[in-house]
Amino acid sequence: MRMTAIGTRLTLAALFACMSLPVSAQLSVDVTGDINNDLKIAVPAMPTTQSVATPAGTTGELGAKIAEVIAADLKGSGLFAPSGPYGMRTVGMAEVTAPNYEAWAGYEALVHGFVRSSGGNADLTVGCYLYDIGGKSELTRKGFVVAPADWRRAAHKCADAIYARLSGESPFFDSQIAYIAESGPKDARIKRLAIMDSDGANHRFITNGQSIALTPRFSPDNRSLLYVSYIQQRVRIFVYDVSTHKQRLVTESSNPTFAPRWSPDGRNILFSMAIAGNTDIYRVPASGGKPVRLTTSPGIDVGGSYSPDGTRITFESDRSSTQQIYVMNADGSNQQRISHGGGRYATPEWSPRGDLIAFTKIAGDFHIAVMTPGGDNERILTNGWQDEAPTWSPNGRVLQFFRTSSGKSGASQVWQVDLTGVNARRIPTPLSGSDPAWGPLLP
């Protein structure tokens, strides 16, 4: 009897508990935040354990110069509002790993670091730290050992680490650009092959101007440059070794030959050649050999660019009466048109990330634009009078191209824009520049 009563009570209790289970209400809330393009980052000069002389200056001086390069890189990305190093308080070594957050109120992130060397030609050790001031926490840290002459690379690497941590993207500052430096009057241009760091520093000419150099491309291992050389009627494609300064011939023809491109594995080279008015795309082994013709349609097929996995090629063709963009398999099969918007399309370049194809959109003026490999989501990124020939940064988030002015000189300059289209800026070059080609991230 008693057991039954207890049982009943338990049952009721359980039932009651079930029935009275409070179903908590959920409240849905919508918040819209601004995409942050001006994260305030303090980049004070980096201290040194002991200021010693190196061929690139004292370690104390290098601490300030490295901070300066980092701030410039971050600013150039268009995503941040860095300050420093000049005019900022001096940071002691102890603060590098234990930052005084209160002293940096007004900033959102803080870059610290140090420079250390035993002097002379001994390697530099550069420490790099990123802190979240609001959260009072360390976000990332890296260390780099470089020869004194390569101190800028340490700065780029540090900026890369910061950029990657704060943007989510892969790094790209520590890379090089090849381009065609132009000088002289419009009808007698001297076009020289030149390379420089991604920020325009360490500029040097590769060719002397006796031949006309065009459309350079860095090899995937960054060691050599592929380009077209014209001397009178001779058209040749060379591979130039950046470290040995030697070049070798890939192909030579009396037919107009242009737009060479590496395959992602560096084993093959695509180029376009016009024979009797019919331009097609060919593939040739990078070591030289017999070219294989990949396109056969009448008209102009030009400018192949491999997908990062090497299985497909995007190119430009006027087979449908106007310039459009096509995609085909790497062996030339299954050629499909992907551009269907208004206007004409030229110079397609497959992103190293594989998600987009950049191209020149010709609709009145020339614009730089992107779309997916399926031809969707076309977006115009620039609004110059004549912007053309995009090249991707190693992380596939930034594009460089050249912009030609509408004046008499017709001078062109190298420009850069990121995929949001809002951060366009000119890359400083000593002369006019065209045909930029972004190299891979340096190791």
Partner: protein, 286 residues
């Protein structure tokens, strides 16, 4: 004892199953009389769907007793929605605070309160409307409307849906009773307003397509309990993939930095203690 327990649990389980079945079949649902001739009425268009719509509520809902000033947060009322005891007496404010000392981490009510068998009969009916999840789910999906974080004052709910001149002081009126859609929207705006300045969303292609859906639990002081959970991120494309983790991190960070949330009306604690989803959208900066 053991046997009694077995029996008890057996019956309880059977009861659960039975009840679940009955509720699923909707046997208790009252058929809604079809009224074709609706008189014209004023309609105010709001972009949010709240727990209940404001207009029809007046007639059916037991008014939450007009003594706004002292009513205070009925302590743990969520655990005993049937509360036969008339009204949470005009107790001074601090009381509820003291009452909830330990169980901060989970507001999960696990208080069976077995000592009130009688009202249990009435309970199912009462519990059901509260359980009317469908409208809530609809709310959860939201209208996609993006709020900019309006500038509301601390008394933003003043005069909204809480007033009810009805003299009949019905018993129920649990602390977190129902809110009108307007009140819900005001609450949404207030929370949004406090998170907005802390949001620093990463830049990148297609980032504006991302939406982070968080689940946030708040204690009575408005402080976030634990860490907000990211339920989902929508709008992911090949292009914005690199930003997804950063986006989630920034969204969670902003909520944590906004904690404790201010100005949330204690009488609606049951409504704002569980924010789900808290949707974080991105807008391109100029």
């Amino acid at each position: 004892m053991e046997r009694a327990e077995k029996i008890g649990f057996g019956v309880a389980s059977a009861g659960h199953v039975l009840l679940f079945g009955i509720l699923s079949l909707g046997l208790f649902a009252r058929p809604q009389p079809l009224k074709l001739n609706n008189p014209p009425m004023d309609v105010s268009i709001v972009d949010k769907v709240a727990l209940e719509s404001a207009a029809p509520q007046v007639a059916t809902q037991p008014p939450p007793a007009a003594h706004a000033p002292e009513q205070g947060p009925a302590e743990e009322a969520k655990a005993e929605p049937e509360t036969p005891a008339p009204q949470p007496e005009p107790t001074p404010r601090p009381v509820p605070k003291v009452e909830a000392p330990a169980p901060v981490p989970k507001p999960a009510p696990r208080k069976p309160a077995p000592e009130k068998p009688v009202p249990a009969k009435a309970t199912p009916k009462k519990a059901q409307p509260t359980k009317a999840t469908p409208p809530k789910t609809a709310t959860a999906k939201g209208s996609g409307q993006r709020n900019k974080g309006p500038l509301l004052g601390p008394d933003f709910l003043k005069g909204i849906a809480t007033e009810s001149p009805s003299p009949s002081p019905k018993p129920a009126a649990p602390s977190g009773a129902k809110m009108s859609s307007v009140a819900a929207r005001a609450l949404n705006d207030e929370i949004s307003r406090q998170i907005y300045p802390r949001l620093r969303l990463p830049s990148g292609a297609d980032v504006e397509k991302l939406v982070a859906l968080l689940e946030v639990r708040l204690d009575r002081s408005g402080a976030v309990i634990g860490t907000p959970q990211v339920i989902d991120v929508t709008g992911v494309t090949d292009s914005n993939q690199p930003q997804v983790n950063l986006y989630k991190e920034r969204a969670v960070q902003a909520v944590m930095q906004a904690s404790p949330f201010q100005n949330l009306p204690p009488q609606y604690y049951d409504q704002w203690k569980w924010l789900k989803p808290l949707s974080v959208y991105a807008r391109k900066a100029q």
